[in-house]
Amino acid sequence: MNAPILLQPDETFILNVGPQHPATHGVLRVKMEMSGEYIVNAETVIGYIHRMHEKMGELKTYPQFLMNLSRMDYLGALGYSHCHVLVVEKASGIVVPERAEYIRAIMVELNRIASHLFWFGAFVMDLGGFSPLMYALQDREHILDMLEAVTGSRLTYCYFRFGGLYNDIDDDFIAAARRFIPRMRKSLKKYKALVTGNIIFRKRLEGIAPLTPEMCRKYGASSAVARGSGINFDVRRNEPYSVYPEFDFDIPVYHECDSLARYMVRMDEIEQSLRIVEQGLDKLPGGPIMPDKKPKIIKPPAGDYYQAVETARGSFGVRLVSDGGKNPYRLKLRSPTYSNMHLFDEACRGMMIMDALAFMGSLDLVIPEIDR
């Protein structure tokens, strides 16, 4: 038997978390310099599933690149597609019918709820509670079934088209969505009693991993990470796009800056998304889902275009530089988790390892979206 290694009091060791580790939710590697159970320094290493999405964007024509966007963030794919179609529509001057834009908003919000539910389940599982994951997945399943019936797929939707949509929604979908809203509200109450009120859960998150608003600004953090630190910024409200100005909804903001605040923001966002879906279904106008006049080949005039949207993970932006050809000259994808993740290196110094992993869970990282 080997003799145990004895460390000197001021000696540190390197702990390698990932790239295949359940707590990193994907292929993220974290090199942690540890002093006992405390982190002295941490370095996130990314790039394990880099797929050159930006380069693919330059090589493929606009319609051919459509389906790539849903491969970036597999949990909230529709928000990313939405941004891409919006920027290309803006560039080539395509006018989207009102009905299509309403359906897009409804779908994106449903997808946001599905994404938050999955995050909720996985986050609680990181902290050691298994049942909430099962309950969250059961609710999420209802959304996936609804989306599948309309779009034809459950995860990597390729639903939005330049100018409109691939399929129209039917009465079955509307009825299912209306049934889902009260169900989800009931479930939210259940989660509140089961998880939010739980003493073990609260003790592990309250006051842990404080992120100052300055730090969030420095790293360009968005979504619940910034809103949990008191930064009232949501692209849907601050730089309105699509039909969001038509809806009445609140932006949940918490000033506690800790992991629990980030959790609370996301749970409140589910309720706000339900409100948007409800209003969208009430206001849904009739009409076509594709415009009458649409260029056969998409060739935006030369120029530089940018569009940002609020996805489930934060503000996602697409910068499109066109030279007037069939392919973009440059397609920059600004991914929100990339900024959110880099907070981790600085913020986790001095933290205990289990707090750091709980903190990582509260950032809601989706690795394919960081690497893209």
Binding site: M67, A149, A193
Partner: protein, 146 residues
């Protein structure tokens, strides 16, 4: 001192509330399916891999225009056709789908103006050999005809 005991009491209470919820869920009906012993039928719009659509006589509707081949972002589709002697229209002689590269985006079905390709509802496609995913769709159609 009082706060200390209140916290312990409230903490214990929160645990029992949680236990109550999981206990209630325990008696709720099962919602999962014991796959592979039970399977679900896919919805009408399910996007599986593509298949050729036959006309009334069972021959492919395809006119070999090659639009699906061009629309595909990943070059999955390769097709060929030739004019039979004395015939006017091209007839399909080969239609291969490389499913290893397909991402099920549906661009090919959308590009087809003849309704010659459609999504299948097949999803039990696991295999350990790569060759199993090179689908000869024309051969599949002929087998179906028989």
């Amino acid at each position: 001192m009082v706060a200390y005991f209140t916290e312990i009491f409230n903490g214990l209470l929160s645990l029992f509330i949680g236990m109550g919820i999981t206990f209630k869920e325990f008696f709720k009906p099962t919602v999962t399916v014991a796959y592979p012993y039970e399977t679900l039928t896919m919805c009408a719009r399910y996007r599986g891999h593509i298949e050729l659509v036959p006309d009334e006589e069972g021959n492919p509707k395809c006119v070999v225009c090659g639009l699906c081949e061009k629309a595909c972002p990943s070059d999955c589709i390769s097709l060929a056709g030739e004019k039979p002697e004395g015939g006017k229209k091209k007839e399909l002689t080969k239609y291969n789908l490389d499913f290893t590269r397909c991402s099920l985006c549906g661009s090919c079905v959308e590009s087809c103006s003849f309704g010659a390709i459609d999504f299948s509802k097949e999803y039990n496609l696991a295999s350990t050999r790569k060759e199993d995913f090179i689908f000869n769709l024309l051969q599949r159609l002929e087998e179906k005809k028989k």
